[in-house]
Amino acid sequence: MGGFLAQILNGLQYGLLLFLISSGLTLIFGVMGVINLAHGSLFMIGAYLAYVVAGLTGQFWLALPAAVVGGLVFGAVLERGLFRKFRQREHLDQVLLTFALILLFEEARAALIDNQFHAVPVPPALDFSVPVIGGFAYSAYRLAVLAICLAVAGGMVAFVERTRIGASIRAAAENSEMVDLLGLDARLIHTLVFASGTALAMLAGALAAPLQSVYPGMGDGFLILSFIVVVIGGLGSIAGAFWAALLVGMIDTLGKVYLPEMAGIAVCGMMALVLLWRPSGLFSRG
């Protein structure tokens, strides 16, 4: 029983991390209409940033604001310098360009840091375990990640649901022409959305660094999973991304326990079912 409870916690924690990554993606797709295959690399960059910041300062906690601020700046630069120009290009161009970004980001990582695995220490204040029933202990840091992700998710929902800018973003995510109709500064909204998406992915990377170490290509798996989350959740829907991320996190985690060979396939199977039932995602309309 304790084991099962721990699995549920694992699924939740994994799913919430996935949410941070995919919520940015779903908004970027919805509002800007660009695809970014390098989103997983942003996760990787966030994790390496945490490794570097924690290594230099000895303070892991500094890595979180660093990832957020760094992400906002980096995202804004990417959007202004690159993605803005490629919005009108064909999908093929966008796919290949962002594929090239993956390669170049990996190359830059290899040149700036190295090709090694690096562990990022869990912050000492949380380096203890909380007992769960049944002889299993749960790491306090994991619980903290869970709480942080929930807080960020709550903040995002509040922002998108309750503020004026949030309402425009929601409208734009569903119909990108709405931005123009509402007379908003579309360019500003685009920069804002892309920068936030980048910051979220990098924050997720920073949070995940102590959990899974940093290593080359660490964003690849998350890229695929977050795509699945976006497809299941539905076009530009934050709520959809949230529930889909939890669902995918849960299926992936439990799949690994009960059907280790099939875990990767199970998640895609889930997506297939959703496509059959509601092709535009669980939380989108029509």
Binding site: H91, L92, L104, I265, A272
Partner: protein, 304 residues
């Protein structure tokens, strides 16, 4: 021209003749290199039906390619090519039917993401389970040709076989582009909404293209297995789909023979890159940037 241009046939014929003459003057290594370029060209050409033909960008095609290759393994040793070729195309075609039906329920980026996920599902199927002999890949017995091929004759035989297969594939696709089906695909590529508003069964047409394209990718994969006698799950990885897309872009989206040019150009760039630097990702990244930023119409459009 919206529909895929077929200019440059004369040049294609000359190129084919040059490749066919390689056994007379080239070292085995260069014939092997040409063979792998021919296989890459087949793969990219199969995808061109979708991408250049109907404007669909699929990241699942490495999955179909790999499935075609693994068919040879799944059939067990000693089958004839007359069995393994149809089997590879059938298996990939069936997989493409299933995946296409689901993925085509989405559009645009969602189609892209869905194909990526389903392609990876095929990858996981061979990587995580023991169905295909495991994550490390396996040796396979080559399917039997009509006659026994000696070790030293292999580079020659496979070069000619791959050249013949590519030529046949190209010719069939060229014919297909001239049919109502091909015209309708071209229409979808330019303006899908308009096609739908005109009353075309866009979904059905796309699915048909997806299946044909998947089956042809399977054929390319089969030829890879036949040539290399080795299969591994990495054949199904999505990076390989992206590479095929790169070949298409390099060669030119607007020409049916673009992917062939692109495949040869990329093979050449890799070959040169490997002599200069060990940083392969850098080479590839730079090639893509150059292709996207500078070669807007691809190599095929360059001379026109």
């Amino acid at each position: 021209m919206t529909r895929l241009s077929t200019k440059g046939h004369r040049w294609l014929g000359l190129g084919a003749a040059l490749l066919a003459s390689m056994p007379l003057w080239a070292a085995p290594y260069y014939m092997q290199l040409a063979s792998s370029a021919l296989i890459a060209a087949m793969f990219a050409l199969s995808l061109q039906l979708l991408t250049g033909g109907a404007g669909l960008v699929s990241l699942a095609h490495a999955g179909f390619f790999g499935l075609g290759a693994y068919t040879v393994y799944l059939l067990g040793g000693g089958s004839s090519v007359f069995v393994s070729v149809p089997a590879a195309m059938l298996l990939s075609g069936v997989a493409a039917t299933a995946i296409g039906r689901l993925a085509l329920r989405t559009r645009g980026f969602y189609f892209l993401m869905t194909t990526l996920a389903f392609g990876q599902m095929l990858f996981f199927l061979f990587h995580d389970t023991s169905l295909g002999g495991g994550a490390d890949g396996v040796f396979i017995a080559r399917p039997g040709l009509i006659w026994a091929v000696t070790k030293s004759a292999r580079p020659t035989v496979f070069l000619l076989l791959n050249l013949a297969t590519l030529s046949l594939m190209y010719f069939s696709l060229w014919k297909l582009m001239g049919t109502m089906f091909g015209q309708a695909l071209a229409g979808i590529r330019v303006n899908e909404d308009r096609m739908r508003a005109m009353g075309h069964d866009v979904q059905g047409l796309k699915l048909a293209a997806f299946i044909v394209s998947g089956a042809l990718a399977g054929l390319a994969g089969h030829m890879a297995a036949l040539t290399d006698a080795f299969v591994s799950p990495e054949l199904l990885g999505w990076h390989r789909s992206a590479e095929a897309l790169l070949m298409i872009l390099l060669g030119g989206l607007g020409a049916l023979h673009g992917p062939i040019l692109g495949a040869f150009a990329l093979t050449l760039a890799r070959e040169l890159g490997q002599s200069i630097t060990e940083r392969q990702r850098l080479v590839e990244g730079v090639v893509i940037l150059a292709a996207v930023l500078l070669l807007r119409r691809g190599l095929a459009g360059w001379r026109q």
